[in-house]
Subunit: 111 residues, 2 copies
Amino acid sequence: MEPVFDVLAEPSRRAILQLLLRSERSVGDLERTLKRPQPSISKHLRVLREAGLVESRTEAQKRVYRLRPEPLVELDRWLEPFRCLWEARLDALERHLDRMPIEPKKKGSKR
Amino acid sequence: MEPVFDVLAEPSRRAILQLLLRSERSVGDLERTLKRPQPSISKHLRVLREAGLVESRTEAQKRVYRLRPEPLVELDRWLEPFRCLWEARLDALERHLDRMPIEPKKKGSKR
DNA sequence: CAGTTATATGCCTGAAGACGTATATATCAA
DNA sequence: TTGATATATACGTCTTCAGGCATATAACTG
């Protein structure tokens, strides 16, 4: 659970995952699509692989990467208990929010 | 969208969100529950607040924090397209996965 | 074998961020 | 006002990590 969030914190890695959602891709393929240097792509793929988010097969000289959903399932489960805050009607949310205007009078502070 | 992942990458911050899921909490409350120094809690709360994940109201000397679901809704939406990989049957997942055994012959490599 | 293509890794540097300590700010009570 | 309680911020330090560059490894071609 812990690593998933760290891994997803990187925009390029999220971009890779979204590309792999469409179809498998080779490193060079990702490189050209994301327009980032190849070592960068490879390093991100390594992180994704070690987090179980992708796996690869060898195809000639190429390495073709594909998604592995499991860690995302964990993320989905983590999100699950929060979902009641907005799903199935806003009532719970409103009950949660409607209590006070939050913002005090505010008489000019710093920043 | 970008900041949500960064904010959630911190374990203490996720812990705070999960505590706030049960009920509102003051800073000292969180401090005692999480057993972390108060400045640390306050800083994390600031990050959470600036990311829109919590809001606070003043109550005497205390500041009571509560959840704000919106950024989590975004996260939920981000996750949405991936959900077809495991939801509503594994067929899609299997179609995705069953193509090759991934692992090549493996004749003793490093690591 | 040598050469080419495709990908991975090592090393360095810079920037972001988490932590601890001290201190500032705010609110209440007397 | 003073003092106590509750929270926020500032500063310095240390670690982590992404980026860039060079180079190593692997697989194909001839």
